[in-house]
């Protein structure tokens, strides 16, 4: 079974867990994801691999409590087991030929951006990190990012942490100041990634965005995660999750991402009420 080895709260709505899953830990690479179910009736949700320890057979996931399943997940503790945990799925981040990159993360997306930044740093690639959060209470992985980045810029919507403004403001400044990036890697909310990609397109900097659409099996079987890239339909689970950000149809992706919003809201409320009743 997939035992929870460690659990840590990174901020009031973001939790880190280390899960015992030797097969996944043995093969995982930054950029890939897993799918889990909390219980025998649970839905399958994809989460990106935040870290792994091949020797201990553990995989780290970081999740934001946004819906019913992440709520249930957050109520599990060290020693409890997940019902299902499968992976690693998708393709790993490509690093070939890179000398200098900017990693742009937003919100809980930083949990996915961090292992990518770390891997690149470990490979000798110069990494600049730009991370954005709504406010200082939501900041995660600040120290970790600093360790692997030769430049680190923290942004917040209200200015309570780092500089006030959007990640695109910070990225524009870096580029205007003459920083030359071989690639920008952006991971975060769709709307943020859309604007990062619009910006880097102006400067003709190759950019990849990590997509996290609705999916079920994660192996190419259902097609629920499809998106349009350069006019062609791609499956995020097997062709991605990283794609050329200048070719992604973000508006379609945002529309598809909202498909089950009313259902999700209701399910989340019901789960919360359930836990309230117990506590």
């Amino acid at each position: 079974m997939y035992e929870i080895l460690e659990k840590r709260s990174l901020n009031p709505t973001v939790t880190l867990m280390k899960i015992y899953a030797p097969r996944v830990a043995g093969k995982a690479e930054p950029g890939q994801f897993i799918i889990l179910r909390t219980d025998s009736e649970g839905e399958r949700i994809p989460l990106t691999v935040a870290d792994f320890d091949r020797e201990k057979g553990s995989v780290t996931i970081i999740f934001q409590i946004v819906g019913s399943t992440t709520e249930k997940l957050n109520h599990l503790n060290v020693g409890d087991c997940l019902h299902d945990f499968v992976g690693p799925l998708g393709r790993a981040t490509e690093t070939e030929g890179l000398k200098k990159v900017a990693v742009v993360g937003g919100g809980v997306g930083c949990a996915i951006a961090y292992p990518v930044a770390k891997k690149m740093h470990d490979m000798g690639i110069e990494v600049h990190s730009v991370v954005g959060f709504r406010n200082k209470d939501l900041v995660i992985l600040e120290d970790e990012f600093k360790k692997v980045s030769s430049k680190f810029v923290l942004m917040s919507d209200d200015g309570s942490a780092g500089e006030k403004g959007l990640v695109t403001d910070a990225l524009r400044k870096l580029i205007e100041n003459g920083e030359k990036y071989d690639r920008v890697i952006t991971i975060g909310p769709l709307i943020m990634m859309k604007f990062v990609c619009q910006l880097t397109k102006q400067y003709e900097i190759p950019t990849v965005a990590s997509m996290n659409p609705i999916m079920i099996d994660g192996t190419g079987m259902c097609g629920g995660c499809r998106l349009t890239v350069g006019g062609k339909t791609k499956f995020a689970c097997v062709d991605g999750p990283e794609f050329d950000g200048h070719l992604i149809d973000f508006d379609e992706a945002m529309s598809r991402g909202s498909m089950y919003k009313p259902f999700e809201r209701k399910a989340h409320e019901e789960t919360c009420n359930l836990f309230k009743g117990v506590e």
Binding site: R23, V24, G26, K27, R37, E41, G42, E43, R44, S68, T69, H83, D84, F85, V86, G87, P88, L89, I216, D217, T219, G220, M221, C222, G223, G224, R226, L227, T228, T233, V238, E252, S255, R256, S258, M259, Y260, F263, E264, A267
Partner: protein
């Protein structure tokens, strides 16, 4: 044996009333009683040359098991079937008997053939009801073998190898075993409890099933053979990759592949209240395609409360689905639109499906498939208002294993190349079922799994 029953007609299969069943997910066909089974079994003439057996992809000794049913020896009948088939309760339900065993039946020359499929189902169900009557565990022979995929071909292969004493591990990517039997075929046609019973039977034989393992991602075939000491590997990974039409609007909200729609319903139980996985069939659903999967999708959508259309570009005569499935769909109120081919899906202002635009077709000369080729009639379009579209136009093999296994040769379209015994281009690696042939039937996949099991047995016996 007494005098044969010379009735020209099969004993009818009791079924749920169409107007009742089209709003529930319980099994449609209810199965024979003992009396009906014995009466039907007596229609068999016990022909010496057994034409029916030649129509069975796994060569069940059909007259022999039917003779036992006629005598009321139901458990003996089960033993005869299970010598050849690992999944009789499944095959009795989903095999296209009308084009296999039953179409060879002598009784079919004048009147209806013997209801072989219904009798197979009866025998298997009766055995399963009295669980506990399991087979003795085979003596281990010390050889270790891996099976990739727990669908029909993988389970058939695993069952045959386990019976011979092999240490068999089946690797399954999803969280539940069964492959298409679990995620694809709906509850009302094949109850999942039946699938689980058949799988439990294999576990009792000693077969280990490792779910949540995606071979090609979690572990490679080379790693299984080199690091985990599996002497042979059988690839039964199926044809799970959905095709789309590549028409405008196909990525709108409310457009599903049949795979996604059926997986949400069957694997994730989205039809149940309080399911944690949602599905929506809207108030009107349009299913594109005419195969068994299209019928399954249509009948599921109906049960979720939608008015359902099947849009097919040829005519009723060319529908690839089984006659029984088409009949059941019609009875349940599914509306067929023939000679109609989608060209665009239109969106409302919120990114959801609003309608589907189709072009009218007419049939011309037969194409390479031998069926009359549908050609568009210029300027003849219809628009069907709908809020759900389900694309059911076929699937192809998943490239995951091919792309991670060096030396494994495949066809251009993705099918794994294997000889008549299932041996691939890689030593010790066998393959069968839809992964080799492209999408076909449960029983053909089982036949391929059994053939490969025999070849793997030969190979491992001589590989000490």
């Amino acid at each position: 044996m007494g005098k044969p029953n010379m009735s020209l007609k099969k004993n009818e299969m009791p079924v749920q009333n169409p107007d009742v069943r089209n709003s529930n997910f319980l099994e449609v066909a209810l199965g024979y009683t003992e009396e009906q089974a014995i009466d039907e079994a007596k229609r068999c003439l016990n022909c010496k040359n057994k034409p029916c057996v030649s129509g069975c992809p796994v060569q069940i000794d059909i007259p022999a098991f039917i003779a036992e049913v006629a005598e009321g020896n139901f458990e003996k009948a089960y033993e005869i079937i299970s010598e050849s088939s690992s999944l009789p309760a499944v095959c009795g339900r989903v095999c296209p008997q009308e084009t296999q065993c039953e179409c060879k039946c002598v009784r079919g020359k004048k009147g209806e053939p013997v209801a072989i499929g219904r009798l197979e189902r009866f025998v298997a169900d009766r055995h399963n009801e009295k669980s506990g009557q399991s087979f003795r565990k085979p003596v281990p022979n010390g050889h270790k073998t891996a099976v990739i995929g727990s669908g029909p071909s993988g389970l058939a292969c695993a069952g045959d190898l386990a019976k011979k004493g092999y240490d068999v591990t089946v690797f399954e990517a999803l969280h539940v075993a069964g492959g298409v039997l679990s995620y694809g075929i709906p509850e009302f046609r094949l109850p999942k409890s039946i699938v689980q019973k058949e799988i439990n039977g294999l576990k009792e034989l000693g077969v280990k099933i490792e779910t949540n393992t995606v071979v090609g991602k979690s572990v490679s075939i080379d790693e299984l053979m080199n690091n985990e000491n599996f002497e042979t590997v059988f690839i039964g990974s199926g044809a799970g990759l959905p095709r789309f039409m590549n028409i405008p609007g196909e990525n709108l909200n409310g457009v599903y592949s049949a795979n996604e729609f059926l997986t949400r319903i069957n694997l994730m139980k989205a039809y149940k209240e309080n399911s944690s996985t949602p599905v929506t069939a809207g108030s009107t659903a349009v299913i594109v395609g005419g195969g068994n999967v299209a019928m399954d999708s249509a009948r599921c959508a109906k049960r979720l409360g939608a008015e359902v259309y099947i849009v097919y570009r040829r005519t009723s005569a060319e529908l690839p689905a089984r006659a029984e499935e088409i009949e059941h769909a019609k009875e349940e109120g599914i509306i067929f639109k023939f000679l109609t081919n989608p060209v665009e899906i239109k969106s409302d202002e919120k990114g959801w499906v609003k309608s589907i635009v189709c072009q009218q077709m007419e049939l011309s000369e037969p194409d390479e498939s031998g069926r009359a080729k549908p050609v568009p009639i210029p300027d003849s379009f219809i628009e069907i208002p709908t809020d759900c579209v389900i694309m059911s136009i076929g699937t192809s093999p998943n490239p995951l294993i091919k792309s991670t296994t060096e030396g494994l040769e495949t066809q251009k379209w993705g099918g794994i190349i294997a000889d008549e015994n299932g041996l691939t281009s890689k030593k010790g690696v066998y393959a069968g079922g839809d992964a080799v042939t492209g999408a076909a039937t449960v029983i053909l996949a089982m036949g391929a799994g059994k053939k490969a099991a025999a070849a793997m047995d030969e190979y491992m016996k001589n590989n000490n």
